[in-house]
């Protein structure tokens, strides 16, 4: 009788704990205060109140779209060869390269590289399967991809869905460190491809330089994301690597005027108006490109 009561009590406790805590990217902890700039008490107080905090990076699809929208040309030599899949046997290497291959897949998709799209979808599937992610990329996704190989919208939809399947599976199963590594891999690949596509001869007029400067805004978010899984050996190694990138981005200045939201009634879109001044010298760019290549190559080796 007593055993039954204990069982019921523990059962209810488990239910309450589950209902309150599940699904979030992160539960607030006292140590989170270390992540918040001390000179911004307002932000600190706000964040202390939140039950869950999500730190999110541009997805591989978004990164690839940013590269294309900047007018960059496609270069398949920059992608991680699909033959490398056989080298990835640890969870860390498979997670990082799931992000990397998804970025490469997105890049190939936006430039109508039909055979590469199939190859990179299969490479991403191998990584997802290796990580034990169930139903992330199924044969029917690959069949649908082949049937719509010339329809960029459908391909982007498939890439988005399969990426959603992967990261939601990892989040839902409490594998937040692996999920973070997938995001890091995708983000680093986007930055790597961008830096390699810059020709210093047209440095000042290249729109892609602006997109690289913008990544400074994501470095702190990336570090906060990784801090959630601090203590995980693979994450600790990546934090050291990302901090090297942060130190270089610290040399880049971005000055933004206050944002003025204006609602456009004809389109029902809010325009966030502001002016920005930024400065990235060729010297700092070269330093960044070398550091990014070094880290990315450590991921794909």
């Amino acid at each position: 009788m007593l055993g039954n009561r204990i069982l019921i009590l523990l059962f209810l406790s488990a239910w309450v704990m589950t209902g309150c805590n599940s699904g979030g990217r992160k539960m607030k902890k006292e140590s989170d205060s270390l992540l918040i700039p001390r000179d911004d008490a307002g932000v600190y107080e706000e964040i202390k109140k939140a039950e869950k905090v999500f730190y999110t990076l541009p997805s591989p699809l978004e990164s690839a779209m940013l590269i294309k929208s900047a007018g960059a040309k496609f270069d398949d030599n920059l992608l991680n060869p699909v033959d490398n899949t056989r080298n990835y046997i640890t969870n860390k290497s498979m997670a990082l390269n799931l992000g990397i291959y998804t970025c490469d897949l997105s890049f190939a998709s936006l430039y109508d590289q039909t055979q590469l799209i199939i190859n990179y979808m299969n490479a991403a599937k191998k990584m997802a399967d290796g990580l034990g992610i169930l139903k992330a990329i199924e044969q029917e996704d690959i069949d649908r991809l082949e049937e719509n190989i010339h329809n960029t919208d459908v391909i982007m939809d498939i890439v988005s869905q399969t990426y959603l399947n992967s990261n939601s599976y990892l989040e839902d199963n409490g594998q937040t460190a692996i999920a973070a590594m997938v995001l890091v891999g995708g983000w680093m690949e986007g930055l790597y491809i961008s830096t390699r596509l810059i020709d210093l001869k047209d440095f000042n007029s290249n729109k892609l330089v602006g997109r690289i400067i913008d990544q400074k805004l994501s470095v702190d978010i990336l570090l906060s994301l990784l801090e959630d899984s601090k203590g995980h050996p693979a994450i600790d190694e990546i934090i050291v690597q990302v901090n090297k990138i942060k130190l270089i981005f610290d040399k880049v200045t971005i000055k933004t005027s206050p944002i003025r939201p204006e609602y456009d009634q004809s389109t029902s879109v809010t325009v966030l108006k502001s002016e920005v001044q930024s400065d990235l010298s060729q010297e700092v760019f070269r330093e960044l490109a070398v550091a990014v290549a070094e880290i990315r190559n450590s991921f794909v080796k």
């Binding site: 979030g24 990217r25 990076l57 940013l66 900047a70 988005s160 389109t267 809010t270 920005v276």
Partner: protein, 147 residues
Amino acid sequence: MRILRIFPVVSLLFLVFSVTANAQCKAFAKADCLPELAPYTHDGNYHAAVLTEGEEAELFKTFYSDMDYRLAVCGEEILPPVEFIVMDASNNILYTNKNANFSRTWDFKLESSQQLKFVIKVNSSSEQGSSPKSGCVAIMFGFKIKK
């Protein structure tokens, strides 16, 4: 001894409930929130959590001047309307859906790339004495190249 026998059972129950609740959120996000993004392309990222009335979540993300964006914030039917507030890096409020009848979506674009913060609130609507309601809340982003 009895406790020792009970412990693994409870651990298993905890795991089952946790995975079930999360899987429900994923299914809700895909079925109820994803369609709200059309005709924008979903970025592929997943943000969903079980929130209880009175709780808040926050999200930090960088947005780019080359893109048009749609934000969709969806709460399960059991919850009161979910409020979201958009802030800049200095915590200035740029938008709140409270002034738009708690609309689930917000379309926006930026003249310069910015890091934005989103505060998602499940306000309390339950009568005093009744237990607060919990449900899934999904936050999703769609994008397209600026025309």
